[in-house]
């Protein structure tokens, strides 16, 4: 169901704004700091669009804390939510929003945009923008969910390598290079039901930043998902559905829009999405060591096994 807002803003490309495409959603980012905006334009180059925005995020930066002070402040930061506004106990970020108009205004320390911080706040901002726009446009039921994973297209199909930070998503992307497939994003992808809904799932690249420099706005049907496990050997094990569900749901980026207070609804969405994905797609645990050949041999063997199963059915 598409819900139009009464006074939706149509925002076009200007010197102090840009529009970023995330799946079917378009987020406008406005910033008076043209240098900072230029930096963001470079990062999101392949995802810039002239489409009217579903949500507009206006950023303003302050420069009160150096990197060390910011890190200390972040460790003590708690969000305090009010009526259509929020701030942090550490005073490093605050904002107001009006989802009926599709606007979010955020003021924060400039260093928060540093992608080298332990938590990538730009990714969090885009995820929040995406799910806030889904609230506006799809009445809070996202047509696609962001999944913490490295997405690789091989032979016209996508496979995901999912897992928490530091588990090896970027390493898998590096070990893929251009030889074994096309890495669309080594940090996050969108997973959705395909149009026409024949029960298949598809994967699409997103602008969120990972450890590799390139992110590709490409998509493909989803073939399977590997849940990563660091190991001293390389091995693949097919997962039972319940184990896959329990582990996969922790890799779904929390689909909360700005100001959302009903956490149960959020986890209900994650549970429904995870139940759908685990019912349609085979899941494997992939233990891997830092060896390109054994990794791709294990993946090829899995592909062959899946191909045989497909032929049999």
């Amino acid at each position: 169901m598409q819900v139009e807002t009464p006074e939706k803003q149509v925002i076009s490309s200007q010197e102090n704004s840009m529009q970023v495409q995330i799946g079917s959603i378009c987020c406008a980012i406005k910033c008076q700091d043209t240098k900072a905006l230029q930096g963001l334009r470079q990062r999101y180059l392949d995802f810039l669009t002239d489409r009217p925005a579903d949500v507009s995020i206006e950023l303003s930066g302050v420069d009160h804390l150096n990197a060390t002070e910011l890190e200390e402040a972040l460790s003590e930061t708690r969000f305090v939510h009010g009526e259509n506004n929020f701030h942090t106990t550490s005073h490093i970020i605050s904002g107001t929003y009006d989802l009926s108009r599709g606007t979010i205004k955020i003021s924060g320390e400039k260093n928060l945009a540093n992608p080298d911080l332990p938590i990538n706040h730009l990714n969090r901002l885009l995820s929040l923008g995406y799910y806030s726009a889904c609230k506006i446009r799809y009445n809070g039921i996202p047509p696609a969910f962001l999944v913490h994973s490295c997405g690789i297209i091989r032979h016209g199909q996508a496979m995901l390598f999912a897992g928490p930070s530091e588990i090896g998503k970027t390493t898998v992307g590096r070990l893929c290079g251009n030889r074994y497939g096309q890495v669309i994003n080594d940090e996050m992808v969108l997973v959705s039901r395909q149009q026409g809904d024949d029960g298949r799932l598809s994967v699409e690249g997103v602008p969120m930043l990972g450890g590799l420099p390139s992110r590709i706005k490409a998509g493909a049907p989803l073939a399977c998902i590997f849940l990563l496990k660091q190991s001293k050997r390389t091995a693949v094990r097919e997962l039972e559905r319940t184990e896959a569900f329990l582990r996969f749901m922790r890799q779904v980026i929390t689909p909360a829009y700005i100001g959302q207070k009903d956490k149960r609804a959020v986890y209900g969405l994650i549970a429904d999405f995870s139940a759908t994905v685990t019912s349609l797609i085979p899941f494997f645990e992939l233990e891997f060591k830092l060896d390109r050949q054994s990794l791709w041999r294990a993946i090829e063997e899995t592909e062959i096994m899946l191909g045989k199963e497909k032929q049999e059915t």
Binding site: E240, R241, T242, F245, L246, M249, R250, K263, R264, V266, Y267, G268, I270, A271, D272, A275, T278
Partner: protein
């Protein structure tokens, strides 16, 4: 332990294959129930105690009442410990 038993609030449950997954504390804790345990948990609606639940279990499963009572008592005990159900104070 024959107080009435009720499911805890704010739980999310989903049927995954033959098992029921219960999500608690906004996703921080998850529990997997087999078919019998899920049935017992579903019967914890605040209107029955162990005896009432045992009666229903005997109707649904081919199990004698002593065995059912032992299973229900043990399961309810575990559900109480994990906070998936509460005893209703009358």
């Amino acid at each position: 332990m024959n107080n009435r038993i009720m499911q805890a609030e704010d739980l999310i449950s989903r049927q995954i294959g033959d098992e029921t997954v219960i999500i608690k504390d906004n996703g921080l804790s998850t529990y997997v129930l087999n078919r019998m345990a899920a049935c017992i948990w579903e019967l914890c609606d605040g209107t029955r105690g162990v005896d009432g639940i045992t009666e229903k279990i005997c109707e649904r499963f081919e199990v004698d009442s002593d065995q059912a009572n032992a299973d229900v008592t043990e399961t309810i005990d575990q559900l109480l410990k994990t906070g998936l159900v509460n005893q209703v104070k009358v």
